[in-house]
């Protein structure tokens, strides 16, 4: 009798606990929870890295803050979860994180069969190589026969094998490591002659991990397109729209010349486009259409900044990464950043 009672109780408990497990409206869950859970890198300078006080900085981190500012009006209502390259997609698929803002390349496979969708491109990047200056290598085509350190589970290793095959570099060997720190450590210890990852990652690693950054040179060629952007789970169109337009709001603000410093003054601008973006008129409420407050974009720019503000303080020429805007400049300044109009 005791066995039956225990078995029946287990069965009932299981039936209750393992009930319908569909996520429902992700955006509603986020609002109910009161904070946004954001998956970021464990430590990539310029994109997501925590300082010794535990404060996160970087382009991906600031983007998450912008989304939180749009949803809650408070850029600090966000929890950052560091994820490795192997865990990041499972964390997003399982519901552990709401937004994956982790220098992830937008590819067809990831956009289709992995249960997530990309909301846009926050950084146009490409894959490059870094070698020690003393080897005297001037171009990636000379790397036949070299050992190349690479991190596993990323588009980097796929691009590398494609590149080696396309250029008949059969003698080059890829040494694959699970963690970023191991690949970087092996390269700087001399295990490999070259290290390959996104060009922004190369700049970050050289500035942070090299004993003497001057001893290493980043080769000029980029062997692939790496559009890095945030992703959300499939199934919630509202959250998808919010995250998408958070980026566009930052780009529109830069295009209008609205910066973090002057956003309060810009509220009294006669430009209808700026008034619409900042939500000045209550008759023209763009935020309501997205399910947000009227001043959603104003909060983004005021608390985080426009795209240029974020870029300059994370990866810009004045930071150790020293990356020029290049492809990441606005479309009317020679780059690829183009936001649909907020109207």
């Amino acid at each position: 009798m005791k066995h039956l009672a225990i078995a029946a109780a287990t069965f009932v408990a299981a039936a209750v606990a393992a009930g319908p497990a569909l996520a429902g409206k992700d955006l509603d869950n986020i609002k109910k929870r009161g904070s946004l859970v954001c998956g970021v890198n464990t430590g990539l300078a310029g994109f997501s890295i925590a300082d010794s006080q535990g404060r996160w900085t970087g382009l991906d981190v600031d983007f998450c803050r912008a989304v939180a500012a749009a949803i809650f009006g408070d850029a600090n209502k966000v929890q950052f979860k560091p994820t490795s390259a192997q865990q990041r997609f499972t964390a997003l698929q399982s519901g552990e994180i709401d937004v994956l803002s982790r220098n992830t390349t937008w590819t067809l496979t990831r956009d289709s069969a992995q249960g997530m969708v990309f909301t846009g491109v926050t950084f146009y990047d490409g894959q490059g190589f870094m070698v020690a200056k003393k080897l005297g290598v001037k171009s990636v085509k000379e790397l036949d026969g070299a050992e190349i350190c690479v991190q596993s589970g990323t588009t980097t290793e796929l691009n590398l094998t494609d590149f080696l095959r396309a250029n008949n570099m059969a003698k080059a060997k890829a040494i694959v490591f699970e963690k970023l720190e191991e690949a970087v450590g092996a390269f700087f210890a001399g295990r490999c002659q070259a290290y390959t990852t996104d060009a922004s990652g190369l700049a970050a690693t050289r500035s942070k991990d090299a004993k003497n950054p001057e001893d290493y040179v980043i080769l000029p060629e980029l062997i692939s397109k790496e559009p890095l952007g945030p992703a959300v789970r499939r199934g919630d169109e509202e959250l998808f729209a919010v995250v998408k337009w958070a980026l566009y709001a930052m780009l529109e603000a830069e295009e209008f010349g609205v910066t973090r410093a002057n956003v309060d003054d810009m509220k009294s601008s006669p430009n209808p486009g700026i008034k619409r973006l900042l939500g000045v008129d209550e008759k023209n409420d763009m935020g309501k259409l997205l399910g947000l407050n009227r001043d959603w974009a104003y909060q983004i720019v005021k608390q985080v900044g426009n795209y240029a503000d974020v870029y300059e303080r994370s990866v810009g020429p004045k930071t150790p990464l020293k990356l020029e805007r290049g492809l990441n400049a606005l479309w009317n300044k020679g780059g690829l950043m183009y936001a649909p109009p907020v109207r």
């Binding site: 009798m1 066995h3 039956l4 078995a7 029946a8 287990t10 069965f11 299981a14 039936a15 393992a18 497990a21 569909l22 996520a23 390259a85 192997q86 997609f89 499972t90 698929q93 496979t109 990831r110 069969a113 992995q114 249960g115 080897l135 000379e142 790397l143 026969g145 070299a146 050992e147 690479v150 596993s152 589970g153 990323t154 290793e157 796929l158 590398l160 094998t161 494609d162 095959r165 003698k171 060997k173 890829a174 040494i175 694959v176 490591f177 699970e178 963690k179 191991e182 690949a183 450590g185 092996a186 210890a189 001399g190 295990r191 002659q193 789970r233 499939r234 199934g235």
Partner: protein, 401 residues
Amino acid sequence: MGGIAVAEPVRASGRTQAAGAWWNDRRFRAILYQVLFLAAVIAFGWLLVSNTIENLRARGLKSGFDFLESRSGIPISDSVIPWSDNDTFGRAYLVGILNTIRVGVLGIIFATILGTLIGIARLSPNWLIAKLASGYVEAIRNVPLLLQLILIYSFVRTALPEQLDPLVIGGGFYLSKSGLLFPLLNLLPEHYVTAGVLLASIVATVLYNLWAKQRHYRTGVSPPRLAPSLALLILPAVIVFVVLGAPASFDVATKERFRFVGGGAVAPEFLTILTGLVIYTAAFIAEIVRSGILAVSHGQTEAASALGLPRGKILRLVLLPQALRVIIPPMTSQYLNLVKNSSLATVVGYPEVVAIEQITMNQTSRALECILLIMIVYLTISLSISFAMNVYNKRLALKER
């Protein structure tokens, strides 16, 4: 069903049955409860599986094992069978499994040898040797394996010479950060013939030794064992090789722009994981061997030497068979631990099966399928080791008559 209650009448059929309904019959109730419980477990399992499938579909995640047949595009630096990035994920798994087996088999062999030596050393009457062995065991057992591996790898990749300036051991052997480079024999038909002859020689040697043992048991005269065995093993193969012309051409590593390319190489990653596993597991095996030897009563040794047996024969015929009965079961656990610990090789960049699985899981996003495959792989390897050890254990067991 407990004891038979006195008040219950025993029917002609022999079943105890209370006066009344079939649902009071104890045996029937026992069977009923078991059936219900089994049904509940099956229902629970079915609920979990269907829930998982439902969730996967709701999130738009594809499932299934078809990814094993698609092109992988991943690089694998160390492989027993030929590998190119055009090969499928299924073949990648195979490469990973072979790498795991390679490090597992070699690890088990070397760890057993090293562990036995250290275990015996700890029992040595020489104070220094005994203390060194104790220190080794205590130090290695108490530091996590992951840290030891990281330490060894950091040391290996900093201490080894640069690729362009390797340590020249001579004869085409080089030691550098790329690993131990050795000349690779270009296999010709003559070599296959010689290998066949060598195989036949090994069989012949084993048969000769069996015959010699039988002769010894029957007549008490022990025919010579060592010299004929060596001759039988070496001479035929050598003669055949020389007669065929002794062709030998090697693929030797030559200096290129970045490193020495060519020949065969033992990668530093493989050396690291093998060394780390061997050192770690040997510490545990040493203690098992020591306990096995101590478990044999000293009276056995004394009686054996009273019979006039030399030390070697005492060890082989009296001590070891009794000690092995104590040693084998925990040894099985250590072998299984070694194989499972090889999954830490991802830390040092050695492409064994868990590393391959992580890459595959990340590239294809089929988390459940990949983990299921890995569990099956490890279960198979571990069960095989356990099975082999259990067979050996049964052979050693005291035969009860």
